[in-house]
Symmetry: C2
Subunit: 277 residues, 2 copies
C-alpha cells in the first residue's frame, strides 16, 4: 500500500522512466542536462528547498548518456512533509515529458537504491532489417546485415555465469572488482526482424551491456566464433572485445531488491509496457 503522505526525514523512493536521448546521462554534471539534475530541481521546488540547499538524489545505477530507463530507482531524504499525490502531480507538471516518475514510495532508513539492489535487468534492442521505422529508431540500434541468432545465442550462453568481465568494461567505472554474476544473457527475436538481448546480473560494469551486445553482433555476423567469446573474457583486456553498441538501444528495465517489486508502479506492469520496451 503506497503512503498517503511523506513526513520530514522519510526516505522517499522514486521509480523513474526516461528517454535517454534528451540527457547527458543520469548523473549530475554541471553545465549539462542530466536526469538526476532535472529530478533534483523539480523536487527542490516541490519541497520548497531554497538557495544553495539541494535535494540529494541517489540512483540505483548511473546510466550513460543516451541510455533509456523504464524502472530506474532513486531515493532522497524528505526535507519536509508533502502529500504523495501532491508530489506526483507536481512532478508530472514540472518535469519534461522525457522524464516520468511512475511511483512514489517510502522505504526503511537502511534501504539504499544501489547497495540494497540484488540485481538489474537491462534490455538491448536491435532492428535487423533494411529499414527501421520512425517509431523504432529512437530506441533501437539499426543493424542492416542479417544476424544469425543461433550463433548469438550460443555465444551468449558461454558468457553467462560468475566471471571476470574486465574485457567488456570500458574504463571509467569505480568498482573494486570486475567480477560479476551474469545470470542471464539472452538474445531472442521479436516480431518483424527485431532482436532483443536481455541481460540480468547482480551488477554491471561501465558499458558492460553495450560491449557484450557489440561482441554478440560480431558473432551474429560471422566475424567471430561463438566459442571465441570465453577467450575474450579470459584476456581481461578491453581491446580483445569488439565495438561498443550505441547507447540508444539500451534500457534499464528493472532494479531488483529480492522478492516482489516493492516500488511497483500501479497499475501498469512496467515490463509489459510501452514503446516496444
Amino acid at each position: 500500500v503506497p503512503p498517503r503522505a511523506i513526513r520530514r526525514g522519510d526516505q522517499v523512493v522514486l521509480k523513474v522512466a526516461y528517454d535517454g536521448r534528451e540527457f547527458a546521462g543520469w548523473q549530475l554534471q554541471p553545465g549539462t542536462v542530466t536526469v538526476q539534475g532535472a529530478l533534483e530541481a523539480a523536487l527542490a521546488r516541490l519541497h520548497g528547498v531554497e538557495g544553495s540547499e539541494r535535494v540529494a538524489l541517489v540512483g540505483a545505477g548511473r546510466t550513460d548518456s543516451g541510455v533509456h530507463a523504464l524502472g530506474q530507482i532513486a531515493a532522497y531524504r524528505a526535507p519536509g512533509g508533502r502529500g504523495v499525490e501532491e508530489l506526483e502531480l507536481g512532478l508530472d507538471a514540472l518535469l519534461p515529458p522525457s522524464v516520468r516518475v511512475l511511483s512514489v514510495s517510502v522505504a526503511p532508513p537502511a534501504f539504499h537504491p544501489c547497495r540494497s539492489a540484488t540485481g538489474k535487468l537491462y534490455r538491448y534492442r536491435i532492428v535487423n532489417r533494411r529499414t527501421v521505422l520512425p517509431f523504432e529508431s529512437p530506441w533501437a540500434w539499426h543493424v542492416r546485415a542479417p544476424l544469425d541468432l543461433g550463433r548469438m545465442r550460443r555465444a551468449a550462453a558461454r558468457l553467462e555465469g560468475r566471471r571476470d568481465f574486465a574485457s567488456v568494461a570500458t574504463g571509467g567505472g569505480q568498482s573494486e572488482t570486475t567480477v560479476r554474476h551474469l545470470r542471464r544473457l539472452e538474445p531472442r527475436t521479436e516480431k518483424g526482424g527485431t532482436v532483443i538481448v536481455d541481460a540480468e546480473a547482480d551488477g554491471f560494469l561501465y558499458r558492460m551491456v553495450r560491449n557484450l551486445v557489440g561482441l554478440l553482433v560480431e558473432v551474429g555476423h560471422g566475424r567471430r566464433e561463438p566459442d571465441d567469446v570465453t577467450r575474450v573474457l579470459d584476456a581481461r583486456d578491453r581491446s580483445a572485445a569488439g565495438r561498443t553498441a550505441p547507447p540508444h538501444g539500451l534500457c534499464l528495465v528493472r532494479v531488483d531488491y529480492g522478492g516482489e517489486d516493492p516500488f511497483r508502479a500501479d497499475p501498469a506492469d512496467l515490463e509489459a509496457l510501452g514503446g516496444g520496451w
Copy 2:
C-alpha cells in the same frame, strides 16, 4: 516478386511510414515541411529531375498535420529508369529518419493509390493512467481520468455501418458525399492501461477518426450515453459531436486494395510492428 528495376514510365508505388510530429501533414504546401514534399525532393534527386520539373507523387490519403503512418501508399510515374535497390538505398540516405520507404513496387497503369483503395485502417492510441511513458507519449493521447471501455464499445457498435458521418467531419474535406461504410470501430484495451481504437472503412472524411475518438472518450467518461451517439450522427451537424482527439494518437496503419497486400513490405508484417503500433 518485387521488380529488380524500374523503367521510364512505370507507375512506381511506395509504402511509407512516418512520424507525423515532424511534418505539417502529408500534402505539399509551400513554405512548410510535408511528407509529400520530402519524398518528392528525394525522388527528384534520385531520378535526376532538374529545375522546375518535379516528381508528382499521389498519396492514398492526406493525413493531417501530426498524424502518423505505418503504411501510407503513394505512387508516381518514373521519369527515368533506376534499379530498385539503388532507389531504396538512395531514399534511406536522403530522407530524414522520420520518413521511411518500406517497399518499392511497380503497379499497372490503371492503379490509383486513392481511387483504387477499397478501404483503410486507422488506429488511435490512448494512454489511460496517471503517467504516460516517454516511449509512449509521442504516439498516444494521454487521458488521465478512467475510461469505461464497456460503454465505449457499446457506443462504437452503434456507429458501425453505412451512415452519414457529416457530424464527425470537420470542414475542409472535398468529398461529394458524407456517407461512408464504417466496417469496424473497435475500442479495446492493451497491456497496462492502453486503449486502442481501430477504425476500418471504405473511406474517411476529414478528421473523422479523431472526431469519432473524441466522441467515444466522452462516452467513456460518462458525459454522454452510448445510445446518444446515433442521435449525434442523425443531427448531421459537427457541433452535435464532441471535441476532436489530438493528431499524435492517430496512425494510418494500412490501405487495402482488395485481396492480399500487393505492396507488402518484406519481410516485416507491418501491422505486427514497431513502436507499439
